[in-house]
């Protein structure tokens, strides 16, 4: 690989609202290679690909495509140069057909108008390339399953004749069969001289596919090396940095804990197919598995969001709450740290103080009238309890960094003095320091008698934090791990349901 890189970045820096996402990044990828990009959440991978694909513009630095300096003002500008990105958040339009979506911005035309027949043929060809011949291109995207949508997304990207193809977690929802199809496809593209930037959390995928790997951490490019030059352990160390040791607070010795929540055979739609679990008082119960195996639905069901949940639930003598209002009041009280803090956890334009009290109105006043003294005390208490770093409580919560925003979400729920805390991937996109604070706080809460049901997409967190770990696969608990049995191999094995029998 002596030829000039197809894409080269020099000194790329990008900040969002004062928070550095990328700092002085130099990066290069070569023609006809599959280049893996590794890093923890928040390491800057997403920002990197957003800059390369024109979604955001860097604050400083230079990008060269095939030796020529380029600056993409929009995704369409990048696409025009053959830089095509498949985003983690899908870029498909739900209310248009598969064929429409595949040729979305540059459809075949006749006399200026979209040629539907040609578009249909084109969709069929591209779908055939990703082995989805059975998919009717006239279907609406909204009627497709998530894995099918990802395949359509890949077909759409192929249709843009990429020189550089970026796959951001493109395989997260795919079936094993589809994953193999994508592997084969990437092999062929490589042979054709296409460069693929591949971002995945699945180490085995990265190992199988990539020729070169680049590790990012805290917005910096740490190292790039050829496949096989580094062991897994070394790679993990590069990703995590030096703080690998003191990252998690020590776990208490396993003890018998009185159960506060018992679930037996919980079923809901296609997502939950008979989940059973027991959560003890003062316990951190981890929930793992690949994305989309029912973990989120389990938490939502326990919080009273889902309708038509079947199965037996014993919540300290109560049944399943019928709404979030019922969940947060009564005994025991339940809290949910939701999946997406920007749209579900917070009201971004409202002040920090307003956000802190939204779940605990009864704490700040009597019969609906706010007592300013109690309001101020509650806000102060919430800020102090999680050491939220802020300018003034009346600032909009959107001015805070991601980590501090998440602290506001947690502080908001601690204000209701919950007995059971459901956490849906609470450390996603948060800096390492805040993560550690959150883990510390979780353990303190558990030691203080709270029970925590903790879903994380990061296995390391489950290993470091949880007293026990349940692994979900296809809406069922397939493994329960405790104590020293909680290991990466065990979780990964169970996640893929390939039965690394204990």
């Amino acid at each position: 690989m002596t030829d000039a890189p197809i894409i080269a970045l020099r000194g790329i820096t990008k900040s969002y609202a004062g928070i550095r996402a990328l700092e002085g990044v130099d990066f290069a990828a070569h023609r006809g290679s599959v280049h893996g990009i590794l890093g923890e959440n928040g390491a800057g991978k997403s920002t990197l690909i957003k800059i390369i694909s024109g979604v955001v513009q860097p604050d400083a630095g230079e990008m060269r495509l095939d030796g020529q300096p380029v600056r993409f003002a929009s995704p369409s500008a990048a696409t025009a140069e053959g830089v095509v990105c498949m985003f983690q958040e899908l870029s498909l339009i739900p209310d248009l057909s598969v064929a429409d979506n595949i040729s979305i911005a540059a459809p075949p035309r006749r006399m200026g108008l979209i040629d539907r027949k040609a578009q249909l043929r084109r969709a069929e060809e591209l779908l055939a390339r990703v082995r989805c011949e059975d998919l009717d291109p006239r279907m609406m995207v909204r009627d497709l399953s998530l894995s099918r949508r990802q395949m359509v997304e890949i077909a759409k990207a192929l249709g843009r004749d990429p020189r550089v193809l970026i796959l951001d977690e493109a395989t997260s929802a795919l079936t094993a069969e589809d994953v193999q199809t994508v592997y084969d496809l990437l092999g062929r593209l490589k042979a054709e001289g296409v460069t693929v930037l591949f971002i995945s959390h699945r180490m085995n995928e990265v190992e199988a596919l990539c020729d070169r790997l680049s590790v990012f951490r805290n917005g910096r490019h740490i190292e790039t090396f050829a496949k096989g030059e580094r062991t897994d352990a070394e790679i993990v160390r590069l990703m995590i940095g030096r703080e690998v040791t003191a990252k998690y607070p020590p776990k208490p010795a396993p003890t018998a804990r009185p159960p506060v929540l018992k679930v037996e055979g919980m079923e809901w739609e296609d997502a939950l197919k008979g989940v059973s679990l027991t959560l003890g008082k003062g316990e951190i119960l981890g929930v793992g598995g690949l994305d989309g195996q029912g973990q989120k639905e389990l938490l939502l069901a326990l919080f009273g969001v889902l309708k038509g949940v079947r199965g037996r639930v014993d919540l300290g003598g109560r049944r399943l709450p019928s709404s979030p209002i019922a969940a947060k009041s009564g005994e025991p009280r339940v809290a949910l740290i939701p999946e997406d803090r920007k749209t579900e956890g917070l009201m971004l334009p409202l002040s920090i103080a307003d956000n802190l009290v939204t779940a605990a109105f009864d704490r700040i006043g009597r019969s609906g009238v706010i007592d300013p003294a109690r309001l101020e005390a509650a806000v102060k208490d919430g800020i102090a309890r999680l050491q939220i770093k802020l300018g003034h409580p009346s600032d909009p919560v959107r001015t805070l960094s991601g980590g501090n925003q998440q602290k506001v979400v947690i502080a908001k729920w601690l204000m209701t003095d919950p007995d059971i805390i459901l956490m849906n991937d609470p450390t996603r996109g948060i800096d390492v320091g805040t993560k550690q604070e959150i883990f510390r706080m979780m353990r303190d809460l558990a030691d203080g008698g709270k029970s925590i049901l903790f879903y994380s997409s990061d296995y390391a967190e489950l290993i470091g934090c949880a007293d026990r770990v349940l692994v979900l696969y296809d809406g069922r608990v397939v493994r329960e791990l405790e104590g020293d049995a909680i290991s990466e191999e065990a979780i990964v094995g169970a996640s893929l349901n390939i039965g690394t029998a204990a």
Partner: protein
């Protein structure tokens, strides 16, 4: 200056500019300054109080991200009920009517989740239909009760009673917004309904409450307006919907909900009332008034420079 104060300051400044232009015009044509005379101003504000009361209630609905297009028919209906019922029950009956309209609007929007734009529009058409069917399309012969006449036209300490009513409503709404959990919930729902729901805020009662407030205010305005005109008539509420929306928005409330202060709505109403009176002093024809009206709204919103809220 905080960003949310900006519209207030600009609107207040523009109100002064309107006063100056009007005064300058009168000085140059007739050498008088009626606009700066307390009696004239009080009279203008008395007329403006009907609009002010409507806008106060509407603001709560707009804060939740909804809209109430049924204000005209609610106002007219309440006025007709008050004059038809008469006697001591005139005003309670009108307010009960407002309450009922608000409950239906709120239920359609919060429970059935029909877009408020379309549900309240249907409500307005239905209520209008009822009043037309009831009166046979003619002006009803009923008269406003003495109490209504007094409330609308009487004075206490030289200040019109209608202004007291407006002030009372204003204090109540300002208190609701600033010092109650209901107020917090309005802002929360208007900002991000999903997050509000997941915070365990009672979405349905709060939205219904906002619509009830809006309809009650419209009904009260109807009672007062019927008192002021001594009778109720078809279409008496038509002139109040769009100015009320404009007043709320010019006062800095986001038309998509979630942000806005009551002081802004107050200034917005005063701006519109004064703009109207200056235009009528200048004997501006209706055509030019409409144009000036539209241009002022666009120009001021452009000056506020409020962008669209991010979607998706």
């Amino acid at each position: 200056m905080k960003t949310e104060d900006k519209p207030l300051v600009i609107a207040a400044g523009f109100t002064l500019v309107i006063l100056l232009i009007g005064t300058g015009y009168m000085l140059s044509t007739s050498g008088t300054m009626p606009l700066l005379q307390p009696t004239y101003l009080l009279q203008q504000l008395q007329i403006g109080s009907f609009l002010g009361i409507c806008a106060a209630g509407l603001m709560l609905v707009i804060l939740t991200g909804h809209i109430d297009l049924s204000i005209p028919a609610t106002l007219t209906g309440a006025a007709m009920i008050a004059t038809a019922v008469g006697g001591p029950w005139a005003i309670p009956a009108a307010l009960a009517f407002g309450l009922a309209v608000g409950l239906v609007n709120g239920a359609g929007t919060a429970v059935l989740r029909v877009p408020s734009m379309i549900f309240t529009l249907g409500m307005d058409t239905v209520l209008r239909g009822v009043t037309v069917a009831q009166t046979g399309g003619f002006a009803p012969q009923d008269q406003a009760t003495p109490l209504m006449l007094t409330l609308a036209k009487g004075r206490f300490l030289g200040i019109p009673l209608a202004l007291y009513a407006w002030a009372g409503v204003s204090i109540l709404i300002a208190f609701l917004l600033a010092r109650t959990t209901f107020g917090r919930a309005l802002y929360a729902i208007g900002t991000r309904e999903r997050a509000a729901y997941l915070s365990g805020i009672r979405i349905r009662p709060v939205i219904i409450g906002a619509f009830v407030a809006s309809s009650l205010c419209a009904a009260l305005a109807g009672v007062l307006l019927a008192g002021y005109s001594a009778k109720a008539y078809q279409g008496m509420g038509n002139a109040y919907l769009l100015p009320a929306i404009a007043a709320v928005v010019l006062g800095g409330t986001n038309v998509l909900g979630g942000s806005g202060r009551y002081a802004g709505t107050l200034i917005g109403v005063i701006l519109i009332v004064l703009l109207n009176s200056v235009l009528s002093i200048m004997q501006m024809p209706e055509a030019l008034r409409q144009i000036i009206y539209g241009v002022v709204i666009i120009a001021m919103l452009l000056i506020y420079g409020r962008g669209q809220r991010e979607t998706g």
